[in-house]
């Protein structure tokens, strides 16, 4: 697992209070991991902080799964 993937997963485990084994690439934040709209906003903010990037709102809307987040950050992190 890449460094980015493990950091992303750690944030999700922390913020959503889910078990690490649930955080699979296919897992949807809202459908599988119990996040509501505010939780999702918080996750995006944590990713921004952790990886020192800015994720525009229109891009953030497309990040619905763990895999989406990892892919976006791998592409955009400095």
């Amino acid at each position: 697992m890449s460094d980015i993937a493990s950091r992303v997963k750690a944030i999700i485990v922390d913020k959503l209070g889910v078990d690490e084994t649930e955080v699979t690439p296919e897992a949807s934040f809202t459908n599988d991991l119990g996040a509501d709209s505010l939780d999702t906003v918080e996750l995006i903010m944590e990713f921004e902080k952790e990886f020192n990037i800015a994720i525009p709102d229109d891009q953030a809307e497309n990040i619905g799964t763990v895999g989406d987040a990892i892919a976006y950050i791998e592409e955009n992190a400095k």
Partner: protein, 416 residues
């Protein structure tokens, strides 16, 4: 229109002297102080280094980790105390008509811990506004009422009351009045506060409101004593189930007592100082008594605001003498803040509970930490100094007064 009768059928408490009604009452009767050195932050640079903190409260005993992060401590205390009260009442919340059940909850300040954390984060972020989406819904003081309603599916009247240290008394008074008017059958009411952080202590220090007796925290809260030097900040929650009398009888509820009257007034005088003659305090007691058709000589106990500030204790004492005349010397007065510290917005709720339990058990909890009489206070009054006293309590009043000049008083009456 005939007003409905209102009774108390459930109680819950998280306090500096006990995290259940049983523990709280035992500590009150035994004169236990909840004060000690502050453990929540580094007090090196603070004038006051002690407080009445809640002890042994572990949020994850009650909430999962994700919930904890969305709840300021004041809302956590609220939910835990509310649950105790619901359990204690024996209410079958699943089968209540949700539209007839409401929540009115007081908090004088609200999520000041959250506010300070977020403000600190902003300062450290070089001006980039990375506020948590939970910042506002954690901080706002009405949110406790919202959380409680979501937990129990109570869809009736729902809001927070804010009147500084009178907040939860106003909550109880409003719940009482709405049941009387037939607007709901059941309320979860009371209040909570969690302001023992740098901003809370530093802010009250700046007002010179807090005791600075750092060498002896346990005796620092000295209401009506000559050497009183301010209040001791406390935290926690008190929850009450108020219920329409017939509703309580029909379900076979155990009734603590009746809520017989409530008064609300303002000093209209000063930001933080009480009216020197205790004008608002006098009017609010008179108003609570007349509202409940209570005769002066029925009142056996007044749980006073008695914060141990130099001016406040004198003003309240004057007011009691004016309201009650000769009877003032026959009733018991006590400030349980001598033990709990000042729970700010939660004070009215936990002190109402003390008054209600005094009726139930026939014991008046003491005003501890009395060492020296003050010539400016009439010591022929019975302040229940240092030791609890047994007596039948027919009517007990609970007074609270808040910065801004808000006064509220509720009369509780033994059920006949």
């Amino acid at each position: 229109m005939e007003l409905k009768r209102v009774v108390v059928t459930g109680l819950g408490a998280i306090t500096p002297i006990g995290n259940s009604i049983e523990e709280y009452w035992n500590s009150l009767v035994n004169g236990v102080s909840g004060a000690g050195p502050i453990t929540r932050f580094d007090t090196t640079n603070f004038k006051t280094k002690f407080a009445c903190e809640v002890k042994g409260f572990n949020p994850t005993d009650y909430f999962d980790r994700k919930e904890v992060k969305k709840l300021d401590l004041f809302a956590q205390y609220a939910l835990v105390a509310a649950e105790q009260a619901v359990q204690n009442s024996g209410l079958d919340v699943e089968n209540l008509d949700p539209d007839s059940a409401g929540v009115i909850w007081g908090a004088g300040i609200g999520g000041i811990i959250t506010f300070l954390e977020e403000a600190r984060g902003f300062v450290e972020s070089n001006g980039v506004p990375r506020f948590s989406p939970f910042f506002i819904p954690k901080m706002i003081s009405d949110i406790a009422a919202g959380h409680i309603s979501m937990k129990y599916n109570f869809r009736g009247p729902n809001y927070g009351t804010v009147s500084a240290c009178a907040s939860s008394t106003h909550a109880i008074a409003d719940a009482f009045n709405l049941i009387r008017l037939g607007k709901a059958k059941v309320f979860i009411t009371g209040g909570s506060e969690a302001a023992i952080n740098e901003a809370g202590v530093g802010g009250f220090n700046a007002l010179q409101a807090l005791s600075t007796r750092n060498d002896d925290p346990e005796t620092a809260s000295r209401p009506f004593d000559k050497d009183r030097d301010g209040f001791v900040i406390g935290e926690g929650a008190g929850a009450l189930i108020l219920e329409e009398y017939e509703h309580a009888i029909n379900r076979g509820a155990t009734i603590y007592c009746e809520v017989s009257g409530a008064g609300m007034t303002a000093d209209a005088y000063h930001l933080t100082a009480p009216h020197p003659d205790g004008l608002g305090a006098r009017k609010v007691m008179e108003s609570a008594l007349s509202d409940g058709n209570v005769a002066l000589d029925e009142v056996d106990y007044i749980n006073v605001h008695g914060t141990a500030t130099p001016l406040g204790d004198i003003a309240e004492t004057k007011a009691i003498k004016e309201v009650f005349g000769d009877h003032a010397f026959k009733l018991n007065i006590s400030s349980t803040k001598s033990m709990t510290g000042h729970l700010l917005g939660a004070a009215g709720a936990v002190e109402s509970i003390a008054a209600i339990l005094a009726i139930k058990y026939g014991i008046v909890p003491p005003t501890i930490n009395h060492f020296t009489d003050d010539d400016e206070i009439d010591n022929k009054l019975n302040f229940t100094f240092n030791k609890a006293q047994h007596r039948r309590v027919r009517v007990a009043l609970s007074n609270t007064f808040g910065f801004g000049g808000h006064n509220a008083s509720v009369a509780f009456k033994a059920i006949e």
